[in-house]
Structures are given as structure tokens and as C-alpha cells.
Amino acid sequence: MKSLTLRYSGATVRDLNDIREFLESAILNLGGDENIAGDLVLAANEAVTNSLLHGYGDQPGAVSLCVETEGEDLLVRLLDSAPPFDPTTVPPPDINRPLEERPLGGLGVHMMRQLTDELVYRATDDNRNELTFIKRGVLSPVQ
């Protein structure tokens, strides 16, 4: 097993670019393909954005992103120390309704779900939020 981690003591939305670049290159490095990388980057980008804007209220906050392999699965873990919040409880939007009838926004968690095989939330022992994005069976068995 191999993992790559990017950690900030005080991240802001200005770091999102850097975070997306890290995720993309880490995923490719661990054997994911461009498609998998695209999905996970999009999904994790939403989660980090929410953590920074909703969780930390747009103030600098600690976040860490870990890309790791588990057998043939590829995982991205986001850890933050913002107030506890479990995004998997957010109800899905109705994306079949026409745009004029839809509220603006509310698509972030939906994208996280759509773009991963599994989205797992847990509060860690030291009270941090841990959100794990899983893509199943995407690595070659040799990995």
C-alpha cells in the first residue's frame, strides 16, 4: 500500500487550484487513469470547497487530503477540523426538473455521490471530519 498526502494548517479557497493539481497527479501516480482522476478531483474539490466555505466559514482552516490504494480500490480521504458535518445526510436534488424551477446550488454533495462508487463519512477519534471517496476495482491487481 502506498499513499500520498497533502496537508495545510490554514487552507483557503485560493488553495483549491493547488489541491486539484495535487489530487490529479497523486491519483495518476498511484495507478488511476485520467477518467478516475477527473471524477475524484471533481468530487473532492466539492468537499474541500464545502469544508472551507461552510465548515470553516471562509476562514483559513486545517485540511488534509490523502490519496491511497487498497487492493484494487483507489481512495481519497479528506480530513478537516471544522464542526462535525456529515454530507451523506444531505438529500439529493431533483436534477430532472427544469433549471427555472430549481434552486441555485445544492449540487456539490450530489456531484460527490455521482462521481464516486462510495462516499463514506465518519468522525475520527480526535473529532475530525473524515470523508472518504472510493472508486472500486479501478487499479490493476498487480498494483
Binding site: V13, L16, N17, R20, E34, N35, G38, D39, V41, L42, N45, E46, T49, I95, N96, P98, L99, E100, R102, L104, G105, L107, G108, H110, M111, Q114, L115
Partner: protein, 130 residues
């Protein structure tokens, strides 16, 4: 994000907004579209061919541009109501050009590809406005 804009005329005058960079916040695109709208733009093409990623904030911006253009056309509103019922409605005022793979992924997870025409080139998009 860098946004270049220019005008072209097909059957009607069209404003092209060519986006470069990740579309991950709403401000720039919305401001640029509002400025164009105030200058009289009623038909907009978003050229997404140089946009590696679109986030939900980017989708929100596209949503707002859509609403802005729609607000100026009462006929569209009525047609939309009938069209949507028949599942054939596409915005007559906002068209998209060549989103990247990841861009298209974002658009389709949100179902935007159902309500917005997507073209391969700017000329095709411009020609499609009536």
C-alpha cells in the same frame, strides 16, 4: 479564469464568451455575462473548450446566466413551459461549445446537458440561434 468575449452574427447577434481555466467560482462568469447583457446581449455562447474542470459553483454560474437570458424573453418562458412538458425544451438563448471530458461530466451529473444545447464549434453554435 480568463474570459474573452466577442460578437458574431448568424440569424441574430450572438455574444461568445470564451472561458479559459477551471470554472470553479461563479463571480467572474456571472459578472462578464451581466456586463454583456447590459450591453444588449440576448444570445450567448459559452465556449468551454479550455475549461479543465467545472465545479458546482461553476454550474451555479451557468444556471444564473441561463436565468438572466430567460428573464428578458417572455415568449421563451411560455415555450419552455410547453416544451419541458414534452421533454424537448432547450434554451434558445444559451448554448455551450465543446466542454472537456471533465466539464461534460459536471454538466451531466447536474442534468444541465438536458436543457442546454452543446455544439462542437462556435460557428455551429452561432448558426443555431434563430
Amino acid at each position: 479564469m480568463e474570459i474573452n468575449s466577442w460578437h458574431e452574427t448568424g440569424h441574430v447577434p450572438v455574444t461568445i464568451l470564451q472561458l479559459k481555466g477551471d470554472l470553479t467560482s461563479e463571480d467572474e462568469l456571472v459578472q462578464k455575462a451581466q456586463a454583456a447583457f447590459q450591453d444588449g446581449a440576448r444570445n450567448i455562447v459559452l465556449d468551454l473548450s479550455h475549461v479543465p474542470y467545472i465545479s458546482s459553483a461553476g454550474l451555479r454560474a451557468i444556471h444564473m446566466v441561463y436565468m438572466l437570458l430567460r428573464s428578458a424573453d417572455p415568449v421563451d418562458e411560455e415555450q419552455a413551459a410547453r416544451g419541458i412538458a414534452r421533454d424537448t425544451y432547450k434554451s434558445p438563448h444559451l448554448k455551450l461549445v465543446k466542454p472537456t471530458k471533465n466539464g461534460l461530466k459536471a454538466l451531466s451529473t447536474a442534468g444541465y446537458d438536458i436543457f442546454l444545447d452543446i455544439f462542437d464549434t462556435n460557428p455551429q453554435a452561432v448558426a443555431s440561434f434563430k
